[in-house]
Structures are given as C-alpha cells and as structure tokens.
Symmetry: C2
Subunit: 130 residues, 2 copies
C-alpha cells in the first residue's frame, strides 16, 4: 500500500519542480507539465503533489492567497514572500528559528517537532516597479 511507482507523469512533475525556482502552485505545475504530456489531468498533478508531499519528497508552502505552493528543496530553509506580487523565494542564508528552552514549563508539556521561519516584504522586481 505504500509502494510508490515512478510513472512518467510523476517523474515529469518532480522534474518541473526541480527546475523551477518559483515555488509553483499546482496550477502552474499543471501548465508546465502539459508542455510535455498535453493530456495529463489536473487531478493527476494534485494527486502526485500530495503523495510526494506525504512521502517527504517535496515541501508544501501555505500562502495568504489561498493557493498552496510546492518546493523541491526539502532542506529546512526560510522563505521570503513578496507582499506585492506574491512571489516566494528561498533565502540563501543559514537561518533557523530560535530554539525553545525545553526547561520552560510551556515547552515541557508539548512535543516540538519542527519550526519554520518566514520573512515578508518587497522583492527586487516590485521595488524597481515602484
């Protein structure tokens, strides 16, 4: 039941993510992949992104505009989101969330598994447009 198959579709979807710097939405991935497999279905794209996400093969990013974005890079790295155009970029600096003191009472009652850091602002494109 957990036996993954590397179908042509899955391979190309993963490839699309790998090539893209832009953390595309399912929709964008669909558009791209249709260049290679014109009759692929949107459902297949969603299904594969979900499966690969659950496998930990890719990362899923929540956004304020209600569309999930996907990232090929599974290393824990911070994202920067442009508040103007919505673009999401990787921040190429080693940054991690401050560690939670395990001796604190609040922390000791919970099990902390992971953390994420995000920055927002204006990207270089949107700055030069303004």
């Amino acid at each position: 039941m957990d036996n993954l198959r590397m179908t042509t579709q899955r391979k190309i979807i993963l490839e699309a993510l790998k090539k893209s710097q832009s953390h595309p939405s399912a929709d964008r991935v669909y558009e791209f992949v249709r260049g290679e497999i014109p009759n692929i279905s949107l459902g297949t794209v969603y299904r594969n992104l979900e499966i690969m996400y659950r496998q930990g093969m890719i990362v899923r990013i929540e956004t304020p505009d209600g569309q999930k974005r996907f990232d090929y890079d599974t290393s824990n790295h911070p994202h920067f989101r442009c508040e103007e155009c919505g673009k999401i970029e990787d921040i190429p600096l080693p940054l991690t969330a401050p560690p939670l003191d395990p001796r604190s009472e609040w922390v000791s009652k919970r099990k902390i598994l992971s953390s994420t850091v995000n920055y927002q602002g204006l990207c270089s494109d949107c700055i030069s447009k303004a």
Copy 2:
C-alpha cells in the same frame, strides 16, 4: 471609501475573536456569533474578517488544512500548531526570527518588512491521548 463603520455585527465578530483563545476559523466565528445574532450571514463574517485583517486590526493565519484562522492579538508572536488535531496556540515566550544582515547582497536587493516564526509538534492533549 476607507471609512469604517462599527456595526453591531463587526463589533460582535471582533468581540468573539477577543474572547477566543483558539484562533478560530471563519466558520467557528460564524457559529459563535450566531449565538448573539441568529440571522447573521456567513458572508458578513467573511467580509468583516477580511476588512479587519486588511486594516491590521486582526491577524490571519495560514494552515495546512486549507482553512484560515484568525487571531485578535496583533503583536508579532510565534504560533505553535499541533500536527495531530490542528490546534493553534500562542507561544508565551519572547521569540523573534533571526535578523537578516542588511549588508548581505541578497538582503540589500529587497525590502524586508516583517517576519514570522512557527513551531509544529504535538499539543499536550494529543500527547496524553497517545
């Protein structure tokens, strides 16, 4: 055009958020508010949450389960999300994202406006259930 009115509905929605510790979704806010104004419409709740969010009166939180949550506390504080039950809690510790070095080339090309820190794991309820 940016002239806000404090209608009964808006007041009660804000009140509901203020009372709630649980970072409710629009749906939950709707349920609560119906206790006071039985014939309020869900559209009104959405409209008001959106307006108040845009005014900076409240905070909107993205979640992996595809429902936005809202927070009365607009101070920049970290959230903890339980991966089991989806509950979102405020972390009562002074924690901020690491500052970005403005001298770095990457940073200098952008305008950083804000940052958020999030932690994920298991809440105390879900630990004791396991």
